[in-house]
Symmetry: C2
Subunit: 239 residues, 2 copies
């Protein structure tokens, strides 16, 4: 009964991978660090390893093994571990903080800003990311991402895909889940959103994980939309 | 030691009265309702009465007499009381909800948008309002208020002037209080912000409460700035 659904009021966006190209951006930051320190490392491997510690670090919070902690803190703990593993010498605390804020400086995919600008004309646009508010605010300011509100894990104090992250973000916008659509490049995220009543839009990002990506190449469930860019999503939604 | 202070990274704004002219806007909504219902009432008195119930209703939450509840809910409870007091007949629940969202439709003071646009070029701009996230997001969308983030009482789950509202909003932006400046038209709000380490800017809004306003006409403490408009604040801060 597609026609019986209420109008979509709010579009909520996964950010890492969906809106921004974290891998290319972190590789760029690594290469710049290498030039500064005069060292040569496998920066793509470094980027993948940093992202590889992302889910395990959040699991400690999701499973209740540690109290709520924002993603900046988890990213920094992972970074300290990787600085040792990749034998990157001699950064002081301020330099580690600065490198950790690489996640605040991720570049958008080329279609993200023009697509979001169009989508914003008819919908409320909010982040629904596991990134923390400062990270997402700084990223948006640098990249020109035109969010109406910065929401997600930190304000819900639950990491996706826990249902509270989706439900509390919708509630903060004064919207019922069925008035919200999650836009994401990841099947698991979209399935979790659909399970609590969200509408869903899959955006293909086939190089998020680099040239050999083998997952999330196509939608694996009956999502409301499946598109190749934010611009295509704007067209689908009549914006 | 003004020169020893860190740079101001974030400007946080009181909203009702400081950025938007709630009184004129609520009077306008009342007059429209009167035309619709074919009734004549003292709409300025209605607006003042609705705002008059604002602080008492939040006190119930501040003092722990009821659990956290967002401002939309408090506004609606006050409205139901006033519909009876002003003998406004026969609105159903949806119509009361719609009238309650008058607070989502407040107009900005004429200097607010141009001033904020200039301030945004060099600072992170966030709300630090007792309004809830949906109210502030809808208001910003309608009025063109260019916030980087929507923060304040609802995400902190504490109403100003409780210190948590200021401290948690700064923390969400990854900023220390001394890197934040509260911009407000109210001495009490600014004093509470200064008490937890914020910088402060008083913006005079001498007609917020109408032609007979007798409070908050001038700064009553040694705030960092005292200005007559957001444009003047932008000039003071070199934006």
């Amino acid at each position: 009964m597609q026609s019986a659904k209420p109008a979509i009021r709010c579009l909520l966006f996964d950010v890492f991978g969906t809106v921004v190209d974290w891998r290319t951006s972190i590789i760029r930051e690594g290469e710049a660090l290498g030039r500064t320190l005069g060292i040569d490392r496998d920066w793509p491997a470094f980027a993948d390893a940093w992202r590889g510690l992302y889910q395990p670090s959040m699991n400690q919070v999701r499973e209740g093994n540690r109290p709520w902690v924002r993603l900046d803190t988890l990213h920094r703990e992972s970074l300290v571990e990787l600085l040792e593993r990749f034998e990157i010498p001699g950064l002081d605390d301020d330099q580690i903080d600065e490198l950790n804020r690489a996640w605040h400086r991720l570049d958008p995919w080329p279609d993200s800003v023009p697509g979001l600008v169009r989508l914003k004309t008819r919908h409320i646009l909010a982040t629904l990311s596991n990134g923390n508010v400062a990270l997402l605010t700084n990223m948006a300011k640098r990249a020109g991402l035109p969010w109406d509100a910065i929401l997600g894990a930190e304000v819900a104090r639950h990491y996706k895909p826990q249902p509270e992250a989706y439900l509390l973000s919708a509630d903060l916008l004064g919207a019922r889940p069925e008035q919200c659509m999650l836009v994401a490049a990841h099947n698991g995220d979209l399935r979790a959103a659909a399970a609590v009543g969200y509408r869903t839009a899959f955006v293909a990002r086939p190089t998020e994980h680099g040239p050999g990506q083998h997952k999330d190449l196509a939608p694996e469930a009956d999502f409301d939309h499946s598109v190749g860019s934010m611009i295509e999503l704007a067209e689908r939604l009549g914006c």
